[in-house]
């Protein structure tokens, strides 16, 4: 009861501090970090293991390796056969899956909490004993090629996203897509994957996060038993390259079978925890935090130029990344008008700071979505992972505190600083369709 009262007070006074009150942190002898959050509302637990490897760690000609390796992690070890993990997890009503990003690769299981030991057994096994069978590798390569066709080749807006990234980054590996280029996928060999696995899949390059109905003191003993004997990897290449400043607008056009024109604009921006990152996050909310955001009100509601419009700041990257503006033209509308309308909104903010009301609204939206997210044990764990991948899970407090400090002038300042013509890459999808 006391605990509950305290919670409520802290929400009113200082919402960030209560959100992740009880994170337990451990580091094993081999460098494996373990984070745990207790939440006993339902008899479930989430186990996640995050490896610090993604498409950022790949090289030209071998793009897509991290993601293909993620697929192969389900295809058997010297101890367990292909898909045994998934089938076992499902037998207890659980689910398991994984995702690969530019910066990291995450595997997870959601299980009845008294079955969470399964995760320890399977994850410690596939951290060390992956088979990477030659035939299975070829077959899974085709599966990933199908995934690429599904997500990119046959999706006009996602295809444009690839074009824009490739133009915005010419030096940094953010240039290529996580799934990899089709021709690279066709050439990745079993041994390439094995080397990638041996280099990056080690305890000192991983973080375990467990949340839900768990007892951390008991669980850490078991985690040690399964993981502590795994040897760390002494050296691995770290990325040294960085993207030079952009010196002029870049424009790319994609002509493809599609229905409506679409525009995607990307501005280079710093990532968290840069001082500007908080104001950039609030700026994205002011522009497109719902139907009361400036973009929807102007482009969709008043001018009726767009079917949909968004602003997105992706600040949680290891290296400087991008602030996106995007819009799909409404039927019969000209994409150049849409582009002008996007810039007009951006210019308004550069000329005059947003109102106090808008800033407060944006902060309230960020606050509420964080609190609502806490109802999911998966999200609780995931948020810790995002920040841990940037160096330290404690940064999440800094992040929320930083958001609270943002003023209208800060938002105007970052809009002026980053929303410049020289700093933007503009992609336009031109529908190639004259059917019927």
């Amino acid at each position: 009861m006391l605990r509950f009262t305290l919670l409520i007070i802290s929400v009113f006074l200082l919402f960030p501090s209560f959100l992740f009150a009880d994170v337990k942190e451990y580091t094993l002898k081999n460098g494996l970090k373990v984070l745990m959050v207790e939440d006993h509302k339902s008899p479930l637990a989430v186990f996640q293991i995050w490896y610090r490897v993604g498409s950022r760690d790949e090289v030209a000609g071998r793009t897509g390796m991290s993601h293909l390796l993620e697929h192969m992690m389900f295809k058997g070890t010297s101890k367990y056969g292909s898909k045994v993990l998934s089938k076992t997890v499902q037998r207890y009503g659980g689910v398991d899956n994984a995702f690969t990003t530019k910066d990291y690769t995450t595997y997870y299981q959601i299980l009845p909490s008294d079955k969470i030991e399964l995760s320890l057994d399977f994850e410690s096994d596939r951290m060390q004993n992956l088979l990477l069978d030659e035939k299975e590798t070829l077959s899974e390569r085709s599966v990933v090629m199908e995934e690429r066709r599904l997500r990119y080749e046959d999706d006009p807006q996602n295809s444009l996203y690839e074009e824009v990234l490739a133009a915005a980054f010419k030096v940094h590996p953010y240039h290529w897509p996580v799934i990899g280029w089709m021709s690279d996928l066709a050439n990745i060999q079993r041994d390439d994957l094995y080397n990638h696995y041996r280099t990056y899949y080690s305890p000192d390059n991983a973080v375990i996060i467990v949340s839900g109905d768990i007892n951390p003191e008991e669980l850490i003993k078991k985690i040690k038993a399964f993981f502590e004997d795994i040897k760390p990897v002494s050296s691995r290449r770290s990325l040294v390259t960085s993207e030079p400043p952009q010196r002029g607008e870049r424009r790319v056009y994609l002509k493809k079978e599609a229905e409506l024109p679409y525009i995607l604009v990307a501005y280079h921006t710093p990532s968290f925890p840069d001082d500007d990152s908080y104001a950039l996050e609030v700026l994205a909310m002011v522009l497109s935090g719902g139907k009361s955001g400036r973009f929807y009100k102007s482009l969709v509601y008043e001018k009726k130029l767009a079917l949909g419009v968004f602003a997105e700041y992706s600040g949680l990257h290891k290296d400087p990344y991008l602030f996106f503006l995007g819009a799909t033209a409404a039927q019969g509308k000209d994409i150049t008008e849409v582009e002008k309308a996007l810039y007009a909104e951006v210019e308004n903010i550069k000329k005059q700071p947003p109102s106090e009301f808008e800033i407060k609204k944006a902060k309230n939206q960020i606050e509420a979505s964080f609190i609502m997210g806490q109802d999911s044990i998966f999200y609780q764990a995931e948020v810790l992972g995002w920040f841990e991948m940037l160096g330290d899970w404690r940064l999440k407090d800094k992040y929320l505190e930083g958001i609270r400090q943002v003023t209208p002038e800060d938002v105007q300042k970052v809009a002026k600083k980053y929303f410049t013509e020289e700093n933007r890459t503009v992609g336009i999808l031109i529908p190639l369709k004259e059917k019927e």
Binding site: K41, L44, Q90, G93, G290, Q365
Partner: protein, 436 residues
Amino acid sequence: MKRVLLFILAFLVFCSSVSALEINREVLPNGLVVLHVERHNLPLVMVTLLVKAGSLDEPKEGLAYLTASLLTEGTKNRSSTMISEEIEFIGANLGASARRDYTTLSLSVLKKNLGKGFEIFSDVLLNPTFLEEEIERKKELTKSSLRQDEESPLFLAQRAFRKEVYGEHPYGRILRGSAEAINAIKRDDIVEFYSDYFLPNNSILSVVGDITPQELDALIKEYLGGWQKKPVPSRRSLPVRRVSKKVVKIDRELTQASIVLGHLGIRRDNPDYYALSVMNYILGGGGFSSRLMASIRDRMGLAYDVHSFFSSNKEPGVFQVMVQTKNESANTVIKEIIRQIKKIRQEGVTDKELEDAKAYLTGSFPRRLDTMRRIADFLAVVEFYGLGLDYIDKYPEYINAVTREDVLRVAREYLDPENYVLVVVAKQSEAKVEAQ
């Protein structure tokens, strides 16, 4: 033996979690059914109002969708912009959506803003104005979204599939309606549909979260007190025609063939629902554990995803298998789907498959109810389909009662490898779909 023990454990876990869900059910004098679950782990309240009218009840195609989407676009007290501004200022989410059998209006709000949130919620529910200007705007947006959806191969396949399976039955439409149908809707149609169906005696209010029964009573009295009951038009039961085999090919400039194969399914109240759930899990519903996934993805490497499902509604739903594969593999994949359907009809399933499917279906229940939002939506639907407040306890009993013989019987009765609708959206010159 070990298996049996584990199975019992999983079952116990399930029960213990469920008993924690104390559902209060009350029918108010105006006929409104109120379901309430108190939860104080986070300062949140989730509200779902289900109105028993969906596209099944609409006299004109697209009317249920348009009516729902206009609720938040203006009331006697607030303009469209005021609604979104006030809701977003408190970080809440408010949205309405029409489904085939019903419409929902949902509110997610922080406890501290519950009064304000619920007041706006009641305003959009009770006082929508359906201004001509907003109707026109929404119609145009909807038509643009339909146009954009033509970029999605799966949308094209699903639309064609439903048309073939249902003909003129309302389930044969897409929810938003066709562009022509949208043009034919008048303001009077919307006002009439709203006043016919949006009634307390035709609705279910489900509230989950940090709110006591007294607080809920007070809110309902204050904001829904004036909601008057009125006779509801009786639901029409429309005949669904039985189709013979039909193949539809849609030609697009695509690298993959999107394939939908299936036919008419069952009503939600069909007692075979549970045996079919088990059968379908094994055939193609069980993710990495399903037969279709094991053969088409894992063994053949021909698809990223393949799955099957029975959708079940007030009227008969559909059974379908969905998959995307490169154009050239279309025939191979279609043959394999039909082979698997025939196989399960001939041979049934093994004891192990049966056991695994049951364990998953019963064991995954807590996960389906692991957030307040999910519980609120779930309770409303359980009430709507008349599954009973003890459904959470009964479900594992229904599933565990299924035998191998049941699975074989329902496979034979409800799967048809001869008379199906097959839709292939692809570059037809490469897919070269043969008569199967």
